[in-house]
């Protein structure tokens, strides 16, 4: 059974509680928004290749909170070195999930490296992640959600999904607004006075 990206992200973000989410630019930001726009989701509209590092910075700043990066295969490939950097820091509260459609979805569905066998989960394991799994069907999604919330990390998952076009569901675009609402929700109203 081929997985659909919206179903996967919806399942992973279900009953998210205090989970802090960074969404990589493009389709994964729309997926996270489709699952419910949330003050504690920081969707990227640019800075391709930086999503995992935002997750690391956030995880180190908030060691008592669980942090999830949801990003695409193309975005992750642009920041492969960050897997090595995370592997050195080993934050126990960070998970990185790549929604892998093997395509650059926003630019005409050109094939990415993962369409040609590049194994991101193996790279993450080799870089020192505590776990790195490849999922192809819904059977592992429940366990992955529990891993995101509970398992000592850093955790990595590469979830293969069908290369389909889905409706755009867009979060707010203004960067300062997205930053300020995230900080207010996480740190309280005093964040504006930091």
């Amino acid at each position: 059974m081929t997985l659909h990206r919206r179903d996967v992200v919806q399942a992973l973000l279900a009953e998210r509680g205090g989970l802090l989410v960074v969404a990589g630019l493009g389709s994964t930001a729309w997926d996270c928004t489709a699952a419910g726009d949330h003050d504690l989701t920081f969707p990227l509209w640019g800075a391709m290749g930086c999503a995992a590092m935002l997750g690391l910075g956030l995880a180190l700043a908030q060691p008592q909170r669980r942090v999830l990066v949801v990003t695409g295969d193309g975005e992750m490939l642009m920041g492969l070195g960050s897997l090595a950097t995370i592997g050195v820091q080993r934050p126990a509260n960070l998970s990185v999930v790549v929604i892998d459609n093997e395509r650059y979805g926003e630019t005409g569905m050109q094939e990415t490296h993962t369409a040609h066998g590049v194994d991101l989960a193996a790279i993450a394991r080799a870089a020192g992640f505590a776990s790195g799994v490849l999922l192809r069907d819904a059977a592992g999604l429940g366990a992955l959600r529990r891993t995101i919330h509970e398992a000592p990390g850093p955790n990595f998952a590469q979830v293969k999904v069908s290369a389909e076009k889905v409706p755009l569901v867009l979060p707010p675009r203004e960067g300062a607004l997205l930053k300020n609402r995230f900080r207010a929700a996480l740190l309280g109203a005093g964040a504006a006075l930091q």
Binding site: A47, L56, G57, A61, G79, T85, L186
Partner: protein, 181 residues
């Protein structure tokens, strides 16, 4: 020759104290000979977490994530690394993330490696083109004060600020000398 001037102040020590005073809790770096001592001082400081990065661009994401979580971050790099962060600085500006960047210069005063010259010469202009407030420290004495000023404007005014620490301060004059450090 381009011998290092006798330093009136111990700039790495004073700079570390400035970072600590501003409450910097996270320091991302790609090593540079000029930053060697400052990196070691930050590593030895229990109030600071140091993060070695594979490329400078990672630091822009690291600093943004840290600020989302309420922590101040400083980035240490060489001027050549400034070329690796340009697109990511678009996020810093659009989101009004604070960013404190300390870059040791290559490719300017007495550079011996011609491959360093283009990026070194372009560094201040490229940063300014992306809206970064640039301070240029031409002497060891000037470094701590300019780091302090940059930290104030970065964290106080929610923008990116860089201190470019001149090769006059670093004083590397030959490949052999650099290798020996």
């Amino acid at each position: 020759m381009n011998a290092p001037l006798p330093a009136a102040v111990d700039w790495p020590l004073a700079t570390h104290q400035v970072l600590a005073r501003h409450g910097v809790g996270l320091v991302g770096y790609v090593p540079d000979a000029g930053h060697k001592r400052l990196i070691e001082l930050c590593q030895a400081d229990a109030r600071m977490r140091t993060v070695v990065m594979t490329t400078e661009e990672e630091g822009v994401g690291l600093a943004a994530g840290a600020w989302l979580g309420g922590v101040k971050c400083a980035l240490l790099m060489q001027s050549s690394g400034v070329g690796n962060i340009i697109n990511a600085l678009g996020m810093t500006r659009e989101c009004r993330f604070p960013l404190l960047l300390l870059a040791t210069m290559r490719g300017e005063n007495g550079e011996f490696n011609p491959w360093q010259v283009p990026m070194g010469q372009a560094t201040p202009g490229v940063l300014r083109a992306m809206g970064v407030v640039v301070h240029q420290a031409e002497s060891a004495d000037a470094v701590p004060g300019q780091v302090d000023a940059s930290a104030r404007i970065a964290f106080g005014s929610y923008c990116a600020a860089a201190v470019l620490i001149s090769q006059v301060v670093i004083g590397i004059k030959s490949f052999q000398e650099q290798s020996g450090r």
